[in-house]
Symmetry: C2
Subunit: 339 residues, 2 copies
């Protein structure tokens, strides 16, 4: 990274700048084989077990927004990072940084929400920490959750990206951009009257329903910061295949599309908090879609594209008008503090 460089909001975007910071600083300093995998959760053996371990800090603004709040987000986000690695989420930690003067009611509401989501997802919050900083030294409340999951290879086939080949199908379990636009609309400065709800949800039960029915998932990732577009770019980056998605099949709520147009956002890059992108073999695709559609978190699931042999390493979008355009990784910060 450049001398005298400074941290920009974009370094937290989940896009290109985040990627540079991770590879240019963290990976370099903390060099080890597990970290180098750069997956959402670290995976390592521990005696006879294989564990997944992940962490996320949450700084969303505002703390409460339609459909969820920072507490639900903090639990579901970490559950999802474990679940998309193929592990069964089990144990979470919860660490709070509180601003002096924060109303205790807010903390109560947030922790109620965490407890509810933990029960819902079947995980336990087993350890925690609290720090308090002086008024003005943080913004109300930040939460970190770390999580441990376990792999049970006898019961669940693990994602295996090396098996991806041309013709494989790409699925998503529902509409994109809901979370990002719900948070944006909830920010006071916007004065937007909107009924958009965050899609924030723990995806482990949906993912398990696919594994349980022997769908062989070749790749899965939750499309959070950076949106669907960034996940697709990362899926094929430096790989011998490309991605082609079809705009017409992308599930986007009318209201989300409207607010995106109003504000100049592309739903492809808007954060989700309850969406998983999957690659499955051509022969599994119809069955996988059917299973998703039957799950309450997959009612608007769709097959949105496929793996192609053309343009390896690149993601292309076939637009509704029949033209195609390249989808690049998010360059700067589209929506700061979205999670």
């Amino acid at each position: 990274m450049k001398p005298n460089a400074r941290i920009l909001l974009g370094h937290g975007s989940g896009g290109r700048l985040s990627h540079e910071l991770v590879t240019g600083v963290f990976i370099k300093k903390f060099e080890n084989t597990v970290l180098a995998g750069l997956t959402d959760a670290a995976v390592f053996p521990l005696n006879a077990n294989k564990l997944a371990f992940t962490t996320d800090s949450f700084v969303v603004n505002p703390l409460f927004f339609p459909g969820a709040d920072i507490g639900k987000l903090a639990v579901a986000g970490t559950v999802n990072d474990l679940a998309v690695s193929g592990a069964k989420p089990l144990y979470l930690s919860a660490s709070f940084i509180l601003e002096e003067g924060l109303e205790l009611d807010i903390l109560e509401k947030v922790t109620d929400s965490m407890a509810r989501e933990a029960r819902q997802a079947g995980v336990m919050i087993v350890t925690g920490d609290t720090k308090v900083v002086e008024k003005g030294k943080c913004d109300k409340l930040f939460i970190n959750t770390a999580g441990i999951g376990i792999f049970d290879e006898t019961h669940r086939p693990l994602p295996s990206p090396e098996n991806i080949s041309s013709g494989d199908k790409i699925l998503i379990n529902g509409t994109i951009g809901d979370h990002g636009m719900a948070v944006m609309a909830a920010r006071n400065e916007l004065n937007l009257q909107s009924a958009i709800s965050s899609d924030c949800a723990s995806l482990n039960s949906l993912i398990e329903s696919l594994s349980a029915q022997n769908i062989s998932i070749k790749f899965m990732r939750d499309a959070t910061r950076g949106g669907l577009g960034t996940v697709l770019c990362e899926l094929c980056e430096n790989r011998p295949f490309g991605v082609l998605i079809n705009e017409e099949t992308l599930p986007v709520k009318e209201q989300v599309r409207g607010v995106c147009e109003l504000l100049g956002f592309d739903p492809l890059y808007v954060a989700n908090e309850g969406k998983v992108v999957m690659v499955v073999g051509e022969n599994d695709a119809a069955k996988a879609l059917e299973i998703m559609l039957q799950h309450e978190l997959g009612a608007e699931a769709a097959i949105i594209g496929e793996i192609v042999g053309d343009h390896p390493g690149k993601t292309w979008l076939k637009t509704a008008y029949g033209s195609t355009r390249m989808v690049d990784m998010l360059a700067g910060e589209q929506l700061p503090r979205i999670c």
Copy 2:
């Protein structure tokens, strides 16, 4: 907790108010058997293994101070929480909340320091996360580390507080109050010229050297926020025994004592980041002390007191003048943002 209550700095002190927040909010909401243990690390079985899991957020101000920095602290602090639970620390996560505009050089120095301490302690940083908030919405840089350790019961006797009885000895591996006073002295507003260095260090190797020589540790805790005094109070609270310590045997550096007197602090409540308090049987005490003294992190170790049958649940200090006084848990916040 009271209606309309607000978070005070003291809720982050590690003392009485922290205790109230943890039991009044977190334990109540996140109710489960593992969390209820209220130990520094959660301990739970995972198939054939027994794991320890812990988390800590670090908000120390300033980021750099004599003897350590926020990075070293973030690694050693989590290593120590695992080590005092009796586990062997193995894997750490690292999650950063960065303020927009932070000089990248600072992040480089901090992560260098984390990497160095992780190597020193023999742990791997295997997963991470970065969030960036707008300028003014956090104070430069906060770090969360969570950690996983494993219990190897065939090789290490585990702490067993239920075996504590009158006559057991209390040891500490060196001088108290160094960390807290080093950080205070480093704060710009004090203009103190001081040579006090933080004692920040990973204690797992010291602890292992005791276990390896079959010292049966009945209790151990690192004396961080809240200091030695708070650890002793927690050791005997609601137990059928009391604690009696001898002021004359308490290791305190002259400089630390001086700055404490100047600023009106009691070294008993000043934070340490490389000190472990242990209870061992009377017959093990001399050997335990000898092993500590031979370790570089135990050169100033001392037997500081004992478990007594009188005044159960209470901690008493025999002063240098021969009188005794009760040691209570830290009531408010003595030193905000000390870790």
